[in-house]
């Protein structure tokens, strides 16, 4: 804290009485405003003591020391609060909040890196098992990769929940200090956040770039399947209990528990089973002695050749002449349904093909009475994605930009038509620069991922795609625009909002003393 700030802090404490509650905290006012208000209140309290006695003065001082009263006194100065907060050194509490956020941020990056390594190990093991050997049930893989993915799942979600709990609490404290402080803190956090996320994604993005195809999923029996719901249930109940206790100090813990419960549940034990099977390309229906119909592979070579020729464009893509001759088609597949509680394991009848391919492949797929699984792999481990941490860290950026800049327009755009127009134009450019990287080269339907998968990866896949593909000039321009837009509020406050002149009769520092 600078000497100037310390003087104002002492002055304010002097005006409203001693004690911790009366100590200097962030009013979000310019030092000049603090000095002015302090001098005015000091005069008021001195007169009150002179007229009504020391007791009345003490009562008034105690009342003025209450946070709600202090907020009421600062309330008319929203624009001043914005200016002062954007153009001052952080308070002690803000430094602590920043340090805490950075710790969570570091843990998120580390967990992303760890999950990247786990993904690599999983991929190489999967390939080895699927294409290197014969039949294997994947137990060896489940022991090693599963452990890494479980640790990654825990650390990544703890870090994400911790980060967002700290983040929301910081904004909540700013809101209680003053609406202008809240607005300015949104803009500050947006700048810090943007720089950190962009830097981290560039630094480690290539190592952790996620892809849904690389996500291991679980295959578990029902007791294990219950792990995520139980953990999440306990956490959410804990959050509810803490919330009901209505103690402000417990609010961050309650929020942390709630977020952690949600994150852990969605990424909790799901399902994956990889298999390579052979199915007949051309089938025939056979009527059994008991009257039931079953599908069998066609054995007549001429009929097989004729049917395959008739398929034309509908032929399976990977079918080769040798397979056609044998009337066997080798397919490898993975389960894609993984959310706990909604999965219906129906293999080997329907459902073991990826659901998104089901419709296209329907006409070729047979339901053989005995599928020939030649290789299959089962992986045990929760669903966690390398890059999911940084992906989620990017989520607040567009929201902070929109709220902060629109709020600034509302607060500062009332000074006159010309200023309001200029300010709105600059703020509009900043808003567009902020949201553009999230939309760039994305299909409109894919800008926002509204599936449960978004909880594990990111709701805005376009942002990571944009940063990961930052090899083109247009992408670099987008990122530059994103960072510049985060600094625009400082430019705007410098241009459009200046601290009010304080007309104190004597030296300001003398009053403060």
């Amino acid at each position: 804290m600078s000497a100037r700030r310390a003087r104002h802090g002492r002055a304010w404490a002097l005006a409203v009485g001693g004690g911790e509650a009366a100590g200097f905290d962030d009013w979000g006012l310019t030092p000049g405003k603090v000095a002015e208000l302090t001098a005015e209140l000091e005069d008021h309290l001195s007169c009150l003591e002179g007229d009504e006695g020391r007791m009345a003065g003490c009562e008034a001082r105690a009342r003025l020391a209450k946070p709600s009263v202090r907020r009421a006194l600062a309330a008319p100065h929203v624009a001043d609060q914005v200016y002062a907060t954007l153009n001052r050194l952080p308070t002690r509490r803000e430094w602590i909040e920043l340090a805490t956020l950075l710790c969570w941020f570091g843990l998120i990056v580390l967990s992303d890196l760890g999950l990247g390594k786990a993904s690599d190990a999983y991929q190489s093991a999967w390939k080895q098992l699927m294409w290197g050997h014969g039949i294997d049930n994947g137990n060896a893989l489940s022991a090693s990769a599963g452990t890494w993915f479980t640790l990654g799942w825990l650390f990544q979600n703890v870090a994400r929940a911790g980060f967002f709990a700290t983040f929301f609490m910081a904004l909540a404290r700013a809101w209680h200090t003053g609406r202008g402080v809240w607005l300015a803190r949104i803009l500050q956090l947006k700048l810090i956040h943007t720089v950190l996320v962009v830097t981290a994604t560039f630094a480690v993005g290539q190592q952790i770039l996620w892809a849904e195809d690389n996500i291991p999923r679980n295959f578990m029996h029902w007791p294990v399947w219950l792990i995520a719901p139980v953990i999440s249930g306990v956490l959410i109940l804990t959050a509810a209990a803490l919330w009901l206790m209505r103690r402000p100090r417990l609010a961050p813990i309650a929020l942390f528990a709630l977020l952690l419960g949600v994150f852990l549940y969605v990424g909790g034990p799901g399902l994956e089973r990889c298999a390579e099977v052979e199915v007949p390309i051309v089938r025939k229906t056979v009527l059994l002695a008991d009257g039931t119909k079953v599908m069998r592979a066609e054995t007549d070579p001429q009929l097989i050749a004729k049917r395959i020729a008739e398929m034309n464009e509908n032929r399976p893509k990977r079918i080769n002449p040798e397979d056609a001759k044998r009337n066997r088609w080798r397919i490898s597949s993975r389960e894609t349904v993984w959310i706990p509680g909604v999965y219906s394991w129906d293999w080997p009848r329907a459902g073991w093909f990826p659901l998104r391919k089901m419709q296209q492949a329907k006409q070729f797929l047979y339901m053989p009475d005995t599928p020939d699984a030649i290789r299959q792999l089962t992986v045990v481990g929760p669903i966690a994605v390398a890059g999911g941490g940084l992906g989620w860290l990017a989520v607040p950026i567009p929201f902070l930009g929109l709220i902060g800049l629109c709020g600034m327009v509302l607060v500062m755009g009332r000074r006159g038509f010309g200023e309001a127009l200029a300010y709105t134009t600059l703020a509009g450019v900043a808003i567009v620069s902020t949201v553009l990287p999230f939309f760039f080269s994305q299909e409109v339907s894919k800008v926002f991922n509204y599936t449960p998968m978004a909880m594990i990866t990111t709701p805005f896949p376009g942002f990571e795609n944009c940063l990961a593909g930052a090899t083109f000039e247009d992408t670099w321009m987008l990122i530059l625009g994103l960072i510049c837009s985060a600094a625009v509020p400082w430019l705007l406050t410098g241009l459009f909002l200046r601290p009010p002149r304080v007309q104190l009769p004597s030296d300001e520092s003398a009053i403060a003393q």
Binding site: E36, E40, D43, H44, L45, S46, P505
Partner: protein, 114 residues
């Protein structure tokens, strides 16, 4: 309307009324309002100063600093032309609304009071 908004609106009229008589400082305005209302109105600093500062921002009142007799800096407020026009306009409306409100809730002023 929330009570706070109603009270703040009333306080604005009272401040305009007080400053239409003469310049005044924060505590002086609060004390004068208390005396004129025979102690019924006690304006606390946390209510008074935000309203004063808002009115100053709106250009209804002007302020300057002086040295008090005790040597302390003191901020004196006075009406601007805009504030005076506002006072003339809102005085009649305030009286009519207050009378109407008192009638509506069945309250009666003491005999002899306007």
């Amino acid at each position: 309307m929330r009570d706070g908004g109603y009270l703040a609106g009333m306080l604005r009229v009272l401040i305009l009324s007080e400053l239409s008589r003469a310049e005044g400082y924060g505590y002086g305005i609060a004390r004068a309002l208390s005396e004129r209302s025979r102690g019924d109105l006690r304006v606390r600093p946390e209510s008074l100063y935000p309203v004063l500062h808002r009115m100053e921002q709106e250009g209804l009142i002007t302020a300057h600093w002086e040295q008090s007799a005790a040597g302390r800096p003191r901020k004196l407020y006075g009406l601007t032309a805009k504030g005076r026009r506002r006072w003339e306009r809102s005085r009649k409306a305030f009286i009519a609304q207050s009378r109407g409100a008192l009638k509506a809730i069945g309250a009666r002023l003491a005999p002899g009071e306007p």
